[in-house]
């Protein structure tokens, strides 16, 4: 399953909730305000690093760039464009948006 998270970890618990519900073969993509979770020094960094031990974590490039955070991405988080987002949706049987 592709898990899509779109809110900042400071605003909402959706990232934490998402990470508590991943099963084997899952992937997580951070879009919109959730890209802040993919940046060094943020409160979710430890959780992201932990998640990376067992599943791929992606962040949407246009959202990072819009927010001026493209230079701060946590090592191991893969930055993708919208084409990459589409590929992830196609690759996984289902997607779930954690709103």
């Amino acid at each position: 399953m592709l898990h899509i998270v779109n809110k900042s970890p400071y605003e909402r618990n959706s990232l934490a909730s998402c990470l508590a519900h991943t099963a084997a073969g899952a992937a997580v993509i951070l879009i919109e305000d959730a890209v802040y979770a993919a940046t060094r020094g943020n409160s979710a960094e430890a959780a992201i690093r932990k998640a990376l031990e067992s599943l791929p974590v992606y962040a949407l490039a246009p959202d990072l760039e819009a927010r001026g955070m493209q230079g701060s991405v946590i090592d191991g988080v893969k930055v993708v464009d919208f084409g990459g987002f589409v590929d992830l949706v196609a690759e996984h049987r289902t997607s779930q948006s954690w709103l």
């Binding site: 959706s14 508590a20 519900h21 099963a23 084997a24 073969g25 899952a26 289902t94 779930q96 709103l99």
Partner: protein, 135 residues
């Protein structure tokens, strides 16, 4: 093709396929419209003979709390609709244990019979669906 004929043909195609639909409820009632309008989708989905389940986690578990009285707020109390789901053959209501406990809620405080599951089981249930819709 006219819209009616188009709907009839697609309705027929649609109904020969049975998919597992899960509707995920993570938001409290009344503060936003997602609980109410989400429920409306569930009721419609019943007409399509799909394999429907509902998941309640995080603040979504609050949607099922007994004793909702909305008179002073002057908004519609839509909680009886959860009891009507059974009549629509929507019987798989999964409520997450950790979400209940974090909120000091017990199963006997809920207004419908549900299956309380742990997060790992909820994750497995989600993973087994064909379509997952959150509001």
């Amino acid at each position: 093709m006219t819209q009616a004929a188009d709907t009839a043909e697609h309705g027929q195609d649609a109904q020969s396929v049975v998919k597992k639909f899960m509707f995920v409820n993570r938001k409290a009632p009344y503060g936003t419209i997602y609980a109410l309008e989400g429920l409306e989708v569930v009721l419609i989905s019943a007409a399509f003979d799909q394999d429907v389940s509902l998941a309640f986690l995080d603040d979504g578990v609050y949607q099922l709390v007994k004793g909702q009285q909305t008179k002073a707020l002057e908004v519609k109390n839509f909680s009886p609709t959860y009891r009507a789901l059974e009549g629509y053959d929507v019987e798989k209501l999964y409520v997450e244990r950790e979400s209940l406990e974090a909120r000091g809620l017990r199963e006997d405080q809920l207004l419908v019979p549900v299956q309380v599951v742990g997060a790992a089981e909820m994750a497995a249930l989600m993973d087994s669906q064909d379509v997952v819709i959150g509001f």
